[in-house]
Amino acid sequence: MDLGHFFVIIIGAIFINNFVLTKFLGICPYIGVSRKLDSAIGMGFAVTFVMSVASAATWVLYTFLLNPKTNIFHGTDLTYLRTIAFIIIIASLVQFVEMVIQKTSPVLYNALGIYLPLITTNCAVLGVAVLNIDESFSFLESLVHGFSAGIGFTLALVLMAGLREKLDMADIPKPLRGIPIAFILASLMSLAFFGFSGLSLN
């Protein structure tokens, strides 16, 4: 067990390869749910939770059912079912999280509104699952990667929401209002995160 290795994965997923700002995953909720700080935080944690659980679940599914080297069918290659199998797992997970939040915190449920079912179509979730497989991570590495990628997503979302709350007061030229200025902000933020790529952790 090498702790330094996990440190590299965590810092890499949060800062160097931030899912939103350098990998362009999860842009829709990043622009859509970043108007209010409260809902941004709620959305961030919901996505982090789904990403961690989805990483674990898809890793187990891929290793024991799909991958011909390790599956229980003695070498039948089912890897072509990856996309379909992963999206089904993620869709059911999201449904489950939605039910749990509805029972435990109706306030949060109302605040997240239509964005909860949309976590299914959040590319960050499917993206992290596919990346775990492409990088041939172990189970624990996948879990850590999924969780820290979720934290990176939350970080970007919360930063953006804080900025956009301030932006409401600002006098912006009319055509730039709303989504365009959000993208220009994202560009500046991405430029700042670009600085992290100078870190070499190996």
Binding site: C28, I31, T120, L126, P180, F194
Partner: protein, 200 residues
Amino acid sequence: MSIIREFTKGFYKENPVFRLALGLCPTLAVTSSIENGIGMGVAVISVLTCSNFVISLVRKVVPKKIRIPIFIVIIATFVTIVEMLMQAYKPELYKSLGLFVPLIVVNCIILGRAEAYASRNNVIYSIIDGLGMGIGFTLSLVIISSIREFFGNGTLYGYPVLPTSYKPVLILVMAPGAFLTLGYVLCFFNWLDMRFKNRN
């Protein structure tokens, strides 16, 4: 409604990227060159048309409560087919699009059209809608990627068009440039829309 109007609405009036702000992840990620943009566009056109076709075929037998998972499975099937075809016939494109080929499944345009259009309209209209929206998406990818490739690399579709003395603005082909270009292009289309509205 006329077929032509259904076909052309995706180009400008209901353009998925510029007007509806859908499918932004691939719009940002694959537009560093025109070739990638067109490749992604063609993949999305074929998935969108096929899924619209099948979904409008089964729209009357699908129970309302579980329609989303069913739509997603149908879409994922076509994405897998496109993924395999691309891997076999265009391995280089497949490599440079990378992660974003399986991620066509979660492109909001496709599920959005399934939910908003194909599950309510007949087969012919759904195919036309899929084609039109797909072409609209491809057009927006081409617009953004030409800007980024022209200024960021000095080329268009791989051919050098600017003199060698031109110093490319490298940042445009990297991540921050994607956000910046899309921001200003969206701003331009908002401005255009306002001009039209004022005139009428």
